[in-house]
Symmetry: C2
Subunit: 469 residues, 2 copies
Amino acid sequence: MSGEDAPAQQQNAVDQKQETKPAEEPKNEPPKTESPPAAAAEAAATPAATTEKVPEEETFTYRALVLTGYGGYDKVKLQVKKGKPALKAGELLVRVKACGLNFADLMARQGLYDRLPSPPVTPGMECAGVVEAVGEEVTDRKVGDKVMVLNRFGLWQEVAVVPASHTFLIPEGMSFEEAAALPVNYITAYMMLFDFGNLRPNQSVLIHAAAGGVGIAATQLCKTVKDVTVFGTASASKHETISEGGVTHPIDYRTKDYVEEVRKISPKGLDIILDPLGGSDTHKAYNLLKPMGKLITYGAANMLAGQKKNLLAVAKNWYHQFSIHTLSLIQGNKSVCGFHLGYLDGEMELITQAMNTVLDLYKDGKIKPRIDSTWHLEQVGDAMRKMQERNNIGKVILTTEPMPEEEKKEEPKKEDKKEDKKKEDKKKDDKKKDDGKKEEKKDDKKKEEPKKEEKKEEEKKEEVKKEEK
Amino acid sequence: MSGEDAPAQQQNAVDQKQETKPAEEPKNEPPKTESPPAAAAEAAATPAATTEKVPEEETFTYRALVLTGYGGYDKVKLQVKKGKPALKAGELLVRVKACGLNFADLMARQGLYDRLPSPPVTPGMECAGVVEAVGEEVTDRKVGDKVMVLNRFGLWQEVAVVPASHTFLIPEGMSFEEAAALPVNYITAYMMLFDFGNLRPNQSVLIHAAAGGVGIAATQLCKTVKDVTVFGTASASKHETISEGGVTHPIDYRTKDYVEEVRKISPKGLDIILDPLGGSDTHKAYNLLKPMGKLITYGAANMLAGQKKNLLAVAKNWYHQFSIHTLSLIQGNKSVCGFHLGYLDGEMELITQAMNTVLDLYKDGKIKPRIDSTWHLEQVGDAMRKMQERNNIGKVILTTEPMPEEEKKEEPKKEDKKEDKKKEDKKKDDKKKDDGKKEEKKDDKKKEEPKKEEKKEEEKKEEVKKEEK
C-alpha cells in the first residue's frame, strides 16, 4: 500500500511493455533486475516458468491487465509482459490466482481515482496467490506460502511483486477466491464500524448497497456484536439474500424513500451510517443520525453514471457534496468521518491489526466472503459491468486461470445464465445452512468447479491472445 | 436536560420574580403549586424553611442568581425568590450546596448560547445538594439523598426543582464541591474520548486548555488507558500542575506554536484532538490528525474576548469557522465530531451510562475532580472572570453557603491570595501523593475548610441583600 514500494514493479512492467511492444520484438536492454540469484533460481523451479537455456529474465512471460486510457470497460486490456520482475529487499514475487474487483477500480478506469498512476498501468488492489520468490530481508514468508495481498494497484496480473508487509497468510480452508475477496471489503468494513463507528451492542446501522462487497462484509461484522439492528438498501431482488445474511430491515431504494423507511422503524434515527454514495445521500445520512451518531462516508458511487466519465454526474456530485460546519456538528452531537483504504498509505500497522482481527473472525466461522461470480482476465470488462450496474450480490472476482478456447467464442452474456443458476444454487445452499459451515464451504467450491474443470482440459493448448487488435 | 422538563421551575421562578419585585411586595396570586401535600410537608420539615403558621408556599424564600440581560459579569445578579416551587410527578426539590461554572455559562451571559432562555433566567447546568422533597412517581430517590444534578439551566440557586432522572447519587466520601465539579466536565470528557474518540492504548491526544475543567477531566481519563501520550496546552505557570496531573507534554500556547511543538515530538500527528477553541484552531487541529485520527470540537472559546460580546471575535470565529468537505475526509481518513452536553437533550440514557462509568472510576480512585476555587453566590462575577481570563486550574465552584459579612466588605481581589495559598498547598499535596488517595482527599477537604469555618460563625447573622441597587 505504500506509495514508495508499490509502483516499483509497475514501473518495471510499464517499461517492459513499452520496450517489448509487440511482444515478439527482442528485448534489447538488460532487465533492471536486482533480484538475488537465489530468488531467481527458486522462481525458475516453478512449473509456470518454461525455462530452457535462455536466461529466465528474458523468456519469462505473464499476462497482465492494463488500463490503457480512461474511459469505458474496453480500456482495460489483457497484455503479455515479458521478463521476470526484479525483487528488491523486503519484496515477494507472488503467482496470482485470483483478484478482487473494487469500486475504486471502476472509478480509476474513468480517471476519477487519484491513487492510480496515469495509464498505461495495471489496476488491482487485492489478490490471492502463492509466493514464488522471496527477496532479501524477508523472514516471515517463504516460497509456497499462500498469501492474500493488499496493494495500491498493480495486482490484476499473473505475477506481482509486492512488499512482504502487504501480504497476509491465507488461513487453512480458505479458497483463493475467498482470499481475494476479503482484504479490501473486510478491512474497510471493519475499520469503519469498529474504529470510526465504535459499534456497540443495541445500536443501529444503515448499510447502503448491502449486497455489495463492503455491504456484505459490514452486515456480517455487525452480526458479531449483540443486538445490532441493520438497515440495508438493495434492489428488491436481492432482499432475500441480504436478509439471510443478517440485514434486519432490507429497503428497496429504487421504489422507496429509504429515509422514510428508516424513520418508520427508528424514529430517532440511527447510530451509524455507512455511506458509499456521496452527494445528496450524504446530506440525508447526516440528518438521519441520532445524537452521538456517526456518518462514515467512503466513496462517491453517485459519480459513476455509465461506462465513461459522466461529467454531469461528477459535477452534480461535487455540487451536492456534503460540507459541514463545526457548529452544526456541535449542536447535533454528530460525527462525520471519511474512509478510504486506498489512502491509508504507510499505515500497514493499523491495517494489519484490523486484518488479524478479521482473520480470527473468519477462523471462528463468524464471517465468510460471499463470491458473486468469478471471471477470466479476458472477461474483465463484463466483470466490471456487472459490478458497476449493481447486478452483483457479493464479490466479483477475476481468476488468472486461462480461459478455455470454447468459452472465448461464446457470447459475453452467457455469464448471466451462470448467474441465474448460481442464485438458485445459493437459495438451496442457504436453506441447507443449518447443515453447518463446512458443508457450505464445499458447496461454494462446487459452484466454481464446473468452470474450472472445463478449463483444465483446455489449459495446455491455450495461447494468450493480446487484446490490442 | 430535557427541554420540556427543565424550564418548569424556571418558568415558575421567573413568574414569581416578576410578580414579587420588589421582594417585599405581597404575592397576590396563589402559587401554581402542583406539589402533593406530602412533599410539601416533607419540605417544611427542613431547617431552611422557617415556617410559622402562614402557608409555607408564601413564606418560603431562597436566593437565586439571575441573568438579567446579556453583557458583562454584573449581569448575573443575586435575587431572593419567594414561594416554594411546585413539584410535578418525577421531579425532586433539591437544596443546592454547590454549583459548577461552565464555559457555556460564560457564553450564555453574552447571549452566545442558545440553550438558555432569554433573560431573566437562572443559569447553571450542574449542582450538588440534598433532596428536600420528592414528587410523585419518583421511586429511586428519597428525602435526604445527596445528589448531583445535570440540567439545561436553572441550577445556580439555593433550591432547584429537577427531574429525578437528571440526578445521580453522590458516592461516599465525595464532597459537594467535587460533586458539583464532576458532571459536565467528566461526562463531556468521557463521551468525547471514549465514544467519538474511541481512545485505545498507545494513542496520542491533544488537550487544549489542559488546566481547565474539561482539560483536567480529560487528562485523568486518558491516564486510565495504557500508554496514552497527552499533549496539553496551558500557560507556563500551570505546567507543573498539569504535568503532575498526567499531561506528558505541556505546551505554552502563549509563547510557542503548539502545532510545531507537537510535530517535533509526534511528526505523524495525533490520534485524537479535543478542540474547545473553534475558529482557526480547528483548522490546525484537522491538519494535525494522523490517518484514522479524530478531531472532536466542543466549543468556540475563541469567540469569548472580553466581558461583553465582542462582535469582532464572534465574526472572526464565524469567518474562520471550520467547514469540511467529505472528499477531504475520505482522502485523509479522518473524523470530525462535534460535542456539547447542553445539546444532548433527552439522551439521559446515554448520559447516565457515561456517568455510571465515571463514578466507578471515581470510586476506584482513578479520577478526582480538582477544585480551583470556591466562591459565594455574591462573588459569581469574580468567579466568572477567573474562568474567562483562564486563571483557573481546575473547576470554579459556587457555594450556596451565606457569605460572612466581613468578607463582603473586603476587596474582591482577595481570592487571588487564597489561590496562591492553594497552589502552594497543592504542591505539597502532590509531593505527598504517594501517601495514598485517602490522604489526598482529606487534604483537599482541609483546603476548603478554613473559609467554611469562618462562614459558619457568621451564618446566622446573615441577611441576604438583593444586588439590584
